[in-house]
Subunit: 423 residues, 2 copies
């Protein structure tokens, strides 16, 4: 057996039988007879040492954390930053093959030096580190609390939040409702591919996020790749955006309205009207009731699911209806209309959104739509399901709005309705 | 008060005070002091007769049903046709303002004369007339039975099915699985705007459907507007298509693969590989278990919903997961992973699809994905949620496939997986 002269963390090339070669990062292995390798694809593979004919170190592991010093912020515009986990704040732990969070400012700065060259990150907060699929209301409120303090700090020009992608659009909607009288840009950004990978979108997204955070607007936006090219980003309206692809760098798309702005590393071009930067004091309004559900209607579905929520004390339900706003009618043996009527009489707030994602509801076109409308369902126009879910929790969280739920659900608080929809 | 000289069904113009005018179809009104008018927008409006200063008939009502004779089919290619309701088979009942179904062949032919000029509709079946939001498994099976008979009739070149749009993509998926050894085109078509309206898409869709039904392929497809223009259609693969807009004429889009063909009124250009027309005997396989559910995962959602289905005897669940195939992990206080693990141990088949709609799942990228994979969840690659739901019911409906559910869910029966996905 050959002697292998590399250590965990090194990026190595192994020679195997039949002229085959493998490249990857060597990981710590508990079984000393096995070399554990993390391949570029993300897979870990174990190779018995006896099958390895030779090895070469392509890149020696360095603990880069210790080597980096934050550049001076003197004379640069100041921003606030909130780091919450997700791929953009994760790197491969070269020793274990797992994820290592970049919670340390210096380490974050090492990965994204250009960010710190351009601005003075006056304040970095790390309220928690979490993959976004594990987040919910509590995390949205914590982020909003941190943002509010930064926005009301006169020195800070704007706020950047790094976040996982899976539920980023829910967080964007939540911040849009929780932060009233917005005065500066609140920019959520992310990456779909980690910074370890050649195809990473993190660097461009963050640089464009900085540009957006310094721009003349007071909106909650998502900033990320505009296309599959690594050329420029879009800033998308927080309440009108949905993750529309599992893996592409331009996974986020705005729905029923265009992007708010095109963003380059050194320029912002606004494409839609925006609320301008102003001197108002931002108010935090994180009232929320989590007794809400989101239900997608589908053929043959038993409407008893609605009773299930009612019986568990749920106060509001968003239904992803078909077409222009339909569910199984009173003629159907699985009538949703009859069940919904009952729930509304019992005090549950029931709203409809479009499961087609794009387009606007119109219950008046067909008699089945009119029948559903007569039950008292609130048709949420062209609002996204995810935004509607967050908004319903927020509206129901306000005790003083009791009896005004419909009016509040239909009030345009944070661009959740596009009044100007052209089709 | 002026005398009003029009009858229910007439399209009229009313003169009101202040030089205002209203146009619409006069409806039968029970209150003799009110003129009831159906406006172009679809709204009904009641106007007290005393406010009407004058009237003009723009188009006299004719009971057109009696006037039309089916043209001879002699020498024309033969097709089969199934009419099931939906906007394409509905017209305004000029007397009541409600919907009138075009179940009568002669009447259907009157609205769509070009269809009957080109082909000999050898057989028309009307298994039921229903808005698609009321359909479910029973209707899918009935349609499949009618289609199977037509496909095994040597004279018939292809089958056209007219259908409502709301759940058309579910029916398309169901037919794709229910009809084995397909030998000819099975073409679903629809309209988003009724034939009464100037912007109706029905005429082009039907003519292109005919062209597709005569083409050299053996696939279940949806044929409808390719864009907002009234120019040509796309034929979309039955298992890869979703309604993506509430009202646009090009509401249906294929997902993770391009259209199968561009279709004009007199030509078909195939864009993807297709199964060619052949002489096999089509077999009907409508086995189905309706103890299946489709659940969209969202932030903070209580995983007890999974127990609800388990307790009701459900055998399979499709979860619309976030991102590359994630749910709240074992670290979350609302852990879905732990609950799913329990359900799978108890014998429930749990599958994951992408709630982003576009893209392919890959549970191996992140540790939270790998954790979910270890529970035994079946990750359905790039399959649509709606298709996955129908397929799960179909797979579970086969008793002899017991124990092979995973293998069958991952077998590519009807193009539900795109093996060639490029990103």
């Amino acid at each position: 057996m050959v002697e292998l002269r590399f250590n965990p963390g090194d990026y190595v090339q192994l020679k195997l039988a039949q002229f085959r070669e493998l490249e990857g990062t060597a990981l710590e292995s508990h079984d000393k007879s096995i070399v554990l390798l993390k391949l570029r694809s993300g897979y870990n593979i174990g190779i018995p040492k006896e099958n390895i004919l030779g090895s070469k170190i392509l890149k020696k592991f360095k603990d880069e954390k210790r080597e980096y010093k934050l550049p001076s912020g003197k004379g640069k515009p100041k921003i606030g930053m909130i780091i919450t986990g997700g791929t953009i704040a994760a790197k491969l732990d070269s020793k274990t093959g797992g994820v290592h969070w970049l919670t340390d400012t210096a380490e974050f700065a090492k990965f994204y030096p250009k960010l710190f060259e351009k601005v003075d990150v006056k304040k970095i907060e790390v309220p928690f580190m979490m993959a976004s699929e594990n987040m919910s209301y509590n995390e949205w409120a914590k982020i909003a609390e941190s943002v509010e303090k930064m926005l009301n700090d006169k020195d800070i020009k704007g706020v950047i939040i790094t976040h996982g992608t899976d539920t980023l659009h829910y967080t964007a909607a939540a911040l849009s409702f929780f932060l009233r009288n917005l005065n500066k840009p609140v920019v959520l950004t992310y990456s779909q591919r980690s910074i370890d990978r050649a195809s990473s979108d993190a660097e461009l997204n963050l640089q464009c996020a900085v540009e957006m955070a310094l721009s003349d607007c007071a909106e909650v936006v998502l900033v990320g790749h505009a296309s599959m090219d690594d050329d420029h980003c879009h800033a998308l309206i927080g309440t009108k955006t949905k993750k529309m692809h599992t893996s592409r760098r331009d996974a986020f798309k705005s729905v029923n309205i265009g992007p708010l702005a095109k963003v380059w590393k050194d320029n912002v071009e606004f494409l839609e009207e925006r609320r301008p930067r102003n001197d108002e004091k931002v108010e935090l309004d994180t009232n929320f009731s989590d007794k809400i559900a989101l239900v997608k209607f589908y053929p043959g579905q038993d409407p008893d699911i609605l009773d299930y929520y009612k019986d568990k004390g749920y106060k509001g339900i968003i239904i992803e209806a078909t077409g222009l706003g339909h569910v199984a009618s009173s003629e159907s043996k699985n009538s949703w209309v009859i069940k919904i009527k009952k729930l509304i009489k019992e005090g549950v707030i029931v709203c409809a959104v479009a499961q087609t994602i794009y387009g606007r509801l119109n219950p008046k076109v067909y008699s089945l739509g009119r029948e559903l409308e007569e039950t008292g369902v609130i048709f949420l126009e062209d609002m996204l399901a995810e935004t509607a879910f967050v908004k319903l929790g927020w509206v129901l969280g306000h005790r003083t709005w009791k009896g005004k739920e419909k009016e509040k659900m239909l009030e345009n608080f944070a661009r959740e309705f596009n009044e100007l929809l052209k089709e």
